[in-house]
């Protein structure tokens, strides 16, 4: 018989007392999780904006950019981290490089689609009135692209939160720490806790971003999204 930490027959018995007893640790890990996510999204957004702007300015650069970020997205997270570890070690940097890579495809795609999706009549009238290219982008195109960009950000955020758990394998992990530890010592409570927290965080962030979008775009009734 394989030894099981909980009572045989209750494989998913969840021990609340263990949870109450480790609130400090849990808070720590949640904090780490949010931090890792925040950095990844921040850097991801910055890099994606830069690449998207290049793609918008030089349409011929878009296919290679899409191809490369698509490649990064297809490579399994564990494999990507494995490639990085010999170079950057078991550090936050490794985790962040990996996490950021996964945000690029969806963010770039949505930023480009959002800007390109601006009503051509609006763009034409803006140019006709004397808007220069830079002000056009900042004052007209980006604000109007916001719903689509935020839709992409929501997807990227939720995906990243899930991926942070995998970084437990390289020593980080956020709430993935509990998943890994629970797995290694057959302690179901930790596995459930880690998974549940990851889902809760994802939902919370998703809802917050939805609220942010509504706050930032008082002029639109409905928010449309790409993918």
């Amino acid at each position: 018989m394989i030894p099981i930490a909980q009572a045989v027959g209750d494989p998913r018995f969840f021990r609340w007392d263990w949870v109450w007893g480790h609130l400090g640790l849990i808070a720590d890990k949640v904090g780490e999780h949010l931090l890792l996510t925040g950095i990844a999204l921040g850097v991801g957004l910055a890099v994606s904006f830069a690449l998207a702007l290049v793609g918008l300015r030089f349409p011929r650069a878009l296919p290679p950019i899409t191809w490369f970020t698509g490649l990064l997205y297809t490579i399994p997270s564990l494999a990507l981290f494995t490639f990085l570890v010999p170079i950057t070690g078991f550090t936050t940097l490794t985790a962040e490089i990996g996490l950021v890579s996964y945000t690029l495809l969806i963010l770039i795609r949505n930023i480009v689609a959002g800007v390109q999706g601006v009503d051509p009549a609006v763009r034409e009238s803006a140019l006709g009135m004397g808007y220069g290219r830079r002000r056009l982008l900042i004052e007209i195109e980006l604000p109007l692209a916001l719903p689509v960009i935020l839709a992409g950000l929501r997807i990227a955020a939720v995906t990243t939160i899930g991926l942070v758990t995998v970084t437990a394998l390289i020593g980080k992990g956020g709430v993935g720490f509990f998943i890994l530890r629970g797995l290694n010592r057959f302690f179901d409570t930790e596995i459930v806790l880690g998974t549940a927290l990851s889902v809760l965080l994802a939902v919370a962030v998703d809802v917050s971003l939805a609220g942010l979008e509504r706050w930032l775009t008082p002029w639109s009734r409905r928010a449309r999204g790409v993918a």
């Binding site: 609006v122 034409e124 009238s125 803006a126 140019l127 006709g128 009135m129 004397g130 007209i140 639109s220």
Partner: protein, 366 residues
């Protein structure tokens, strides 16, 4: 023309990858305070030409001068801030209020807030837009309201030149007619130099001081005041483009005030039955009009005279009453659709006279 506001000299535009030019060797002038309408079939380059004036499209060869400056020598965005631009779909910025939309060019030019606010209020009144809409978003406006906001936005920085690309194309005919009248009204007050593109030849005739008929490839067939084009079309293409009802179109340009009216078969209430019959005979009609002083009460059939004296007759209403500002086209329409076969003309309630078919066609022949 001495120093026109807009001058095109041999302007040609060939798009990359296309064998035929969109516009070839176009030359025309637009004087200050004039409305020039560019009209023609699909592919005649009218929109391309318009967009070359504010450099949204750059000419392949030739020169375009606006207020004495070659458009290629001024930075594009500066040029455009001095030219008003209205397009068919208007393109109001959805994320800005109507007031902010109107304030676009003043903001780009760096006006201070108070000045901008005053100007916005002025314009809202000028284009007859409901002031309550000032702080709403374009989403909440109707089509006609958006049109007005678009025009207000184009006029905000008081540019001397206004470019309009099918500005009334997206609204229904009733609204369109009203907007055309309002444009003419605005123009009487503001005296801008306007270049308007339309595919509707009736709109061109109604609105234009001079109309440029363009053929495919930007070839200028004729550029003249609408009355002249209608009277003397330059060639087969123009004739066909104007349509077979050229005569009637010309009538729409002639106001009734310019035409001599006839008294018509009209008698006062106090007249005798014989006088009525005489006047009917003179005009060759079987009806007569009844005057109460200077007011034309209506008309009656000749055969009603057999039964009763004039004073007791109840006159029938004239269905349409025309005024000095109506055109001969409306008069003709009234004439051919009424029982009486005339168009009565009034100044308020005062009866002025009548128009017959003969009188109207005589005007055309002049």
């Amino acid at each position: 023309m001495a120093s026109p506001m807009i001058r095109l000299e041999g302007v040609t535009k060939v798009y990359a990858g296309s064998a035929t030019p969109a516009v070839s060797g176009l030359s025309l002038d637009v004087g200050e305070g004039e409305i020039a309408v560019l009209v023609g079939p699909s592919g005649c380059g009218k929109t391309t030409t318009l967009k070359m004036i504010n450099r949204l499209v750059e000419p392949t060869s030739g020169r375009i001068m606006v207020a004495g400056d070659d458009v290629m020598t001024v930075p594009a965005h500066e040029l455009r801030r001095r030219i008003g631009y209205v397009i068919q779909q208007i393109g109001l910025f959805p994320h800005r209020t109507v007031a902010d939309n109107i304030a676009t060019v003043p903001r780009l030019l760096g006006w201070d807030r108070p000045r901008i606010e005053r100007r916005v209020d002025e314009l809202v009144a000028l284009v007859d837009l409901d002031p309550a809409l000032r702080n709403r978003y374009p989403l909440e406006l109707s089509g006609g309201q958006r049109q007005r906001a678009g025009v207000a936005r184009a006029l905000a920085a008081d540019p001397p030149v206004l470019l309009m690309d099918e500005p009334f194309g997206a609204v229904d005919p009733i609204v369109r007619s009203r907007l055309q009248d309002e444009l003419l009204g605005l123009q009487r007050r503001l005296r801008k130099t306007i270049v308007l593109v339309t595919h509707d030849v009736d709109e061109a005739i109604k609105v234009g001081d001079r109309v440029a008929i363009l053929n495919v490839g930007g070839v200028l067939e004729q550029y003249a005041p609408p009355a002249e084009i209608l009277r003397q079309p330059a060639g087969r293409f123009v004739e066909d483009f104007l349509g077979s009802d050229r005569g009637i179109k010309r009538l729409s340009l002639m106001p009734i005030r310019d035409v001599a009216l006839e008294p018509g078969p009209v008698v006062p209430r106090s007249a005798t039955r014989d006088e009525a019959r005489a006047v009917m005979a003179r005009y060759g009609v079987d009806w007569f009009g009844i005057l109460d002083g200077e007011v034309l009460a209506g008309w009656a059939w000749g055969k009603e005279l057999d039964d009763v004296p004039i004073a007791t007759l109840t006159p029938r209403e004239f269905m349409v009453r025309l005024g000095h500002d109506d055109s001969l086209r409306e008069a003709l329409d009234t004439v051919i659709t009424s029982h009486t076969r005339v168009a009565p003309v009034f100044d308020g309630k005062r009866f002025l006279g009548m128009l017959t078919v003969e009188a109207i066609s005589r005007e055309l022949a002049r």
